[in-house]
């Protein structure tokens, strides 16, 4: 039984990632007093798009066509490294660097694909994306470094496996800070409110959406699916931090993990319902704040473990 659960992490993510979008949207609809779209709407969308024909801009080249699959491939590899319920398929010292740089590869591909269209709107989105991710990256890596220091292991699996309920008692504030910092990075990287509004209809104000403006058909489907997977892998980090108190493994672990992802999605929905989007000039401040929290957490951890 243990073994099967061990291999379930990646398939679970591949299957359930689009569901997160559905849960977020349902939560938002609930707050707005609407019925909202079906929970499985993202699956329908992706399936519909995969069967459609495609329209390409005359300006675009093979860069534009291959970027979605490069993004999907790198986020899938990143997914292998993220533990689900305490175990991942593979783990090695320093895999969190590989994880972060896989997401970097995905971003690189998306950004140059946006520039490939020659549209100034997409250039604008690309420019904002690289600006914000520049600030998000140190926050994420420092937060993870703090966790690594706390658990004494430099792989994602070892990090989350090394945490236990007693760590929460000993250095709870630090772990809470890390979770918060990673949550901010999670919102920023996945283009959610308060950094970016996935539902906005004005090209000038978009970040992520505007970069994929020219995609259509199967390519758009792949882009949507890759974005859902990215939401899943970064969310999995937060859930792993928060459920490490309960030392779970096997199927019960899987269930608790899935429950955690559900709660996270609801939380994102709540944040999106009750918060306004920040002005673009304020976003760097938020990300630097997240970085400051990571630094604080790191200092606290070093204080406690020395």
């Amino acid at each position: 039984m243990m073994d099967v659960a061990h291999y379930m992490g990646v398939p679970l993510g591949l299957c359930m990632a689009p569901l997160l979008l559905g849960i977020i949207n349902r939560t938002k609809a609930f707050f707005a007093g609407r019925n909202g779209s079906p929970l499985f709407q993202a699956y329908y969308d992706i399936w519909k798009l995969l069967r459609k024909d495609a329209v390409y801009s005359r300006t675009t080249t093979w860069i534009f066509r291959s970027a979605p699959v490069v993004g999907l491939g790198s986020v899938m590899i990143a997914m292998i490294l993220v533990p689900v319920a305490g175990s991942s398929l593979f783990a090695f010292t320093g895999d969190l660097i590989f994880f972060a740089y896989c997401l970097g590869l995905m971003r690189f591909a998306t950004v140059i694909a946006a520039l490939d269209t020659g549209s100034s709107f997409e250039g604008m989105g690309a420019s904002r994306e690289v600006h914000f991710s520049t600030l998000a990256e140190p926050a994420l890596l420092l937060g993870l470094a703090a966790l690594a220091k706390l658990s004494g292991s430099f792989s994602l699996t070892g990090m989350f496996g090394g945490l236990s309920g007693s760590d929460w008692l000993a250095s709870g504030p630090a772990i809470a800070l890390i979770a918060f910092a990673v949550f901010v990075v999670f919102l920023a990287e996945n283009a959610r409110i308060p950094v970016d509004d996935p539902n906005t209809h004005l090209e000038l104000t978009m970040i992520h959406e505007v970069m994929i403006l020219d995609y259509s058909g199967p390519d758009l489907g792949i882009v949507l699916y890759a974005a859902a997977l990215k939401l899943w892998v970064l969310g999995a980090l937060i859930v792993n931090i928060l459920i490490c108190a309960a030392d779970l493994s096997g199927f019960s672990g899987l269930i608790v993990f899935a429950g955690g992802m559900f709660i996270l999605a609801v939380l994102v929905g709540i944040v999106e319902s009750i918060m306004a989007r920040l002005s673009l000039l304020k976003v760097p401040q938020l990300l630097v704040g997240a970085g400051a929290m990571s630094v604080l957490a790191l200092i606290l951890v070093m204080r406690f473990t020395s």
Binding site: G172, P173, A292, L296, R303
Partner: protein, 213 residues
Amino acid sequence: MNLLTDSILVLLILASFLLLSSSRLSNCIKTVALQGMMVGVLPLAANDSLTCRVTAIALVIAGMKGIVFPYMLFRTLRESTTIKELKPYVGYTASMFAGVVSLVASFWLDSRLHLPVAASSRLVVPVAFSMMLTGIFLIVGRRTAVNQVIGYLVMENGIYTFGLAIVRDVPLLVELGVLMDMFMAVFVMGIAIYRINREFDHIDSDQLNTLKG
């Protein structure tokens, strides 16, 4: 490790960060009120044996720092026309960087400084240092008089926290004396700000230098 004390101390630092990064003066006052209140109840969390006297003093201090001072600042703010710090000398993101640097510096300072008595938490002294530095930074780096008073309050919070680390039992007289000073300071500044505002229609302390002959 006392989880409660540590959490309060971490929240104190976060409040300092918030002060460094927000431009709206009313938010700043609310934050400093919260910070003052937390500093006030800190002895309750840190002390193992609560006596009536300690509790009473802690509550009084929390009330002063958390309610009375902010109330006075709010009154001043209402009467002036300023609601936002418009052009600080140091930008908000840069201020945040400065906050992080001062935090690291205070932890380093603490590791170099061997205080004779063990504090209740290993975080108390560095947090106190960082609050003092933040307070000084706010006084130096902001233009409006209200923010300078806030910086003063943050610095006082730091000094109080530091005193807490050195002396386990709050010495009543000393603390009351400090508090009295503070009260007077805020009082005087409040009046001064009010006057300045009435005379010049703004509370931008940078422009006070136009007064000199």
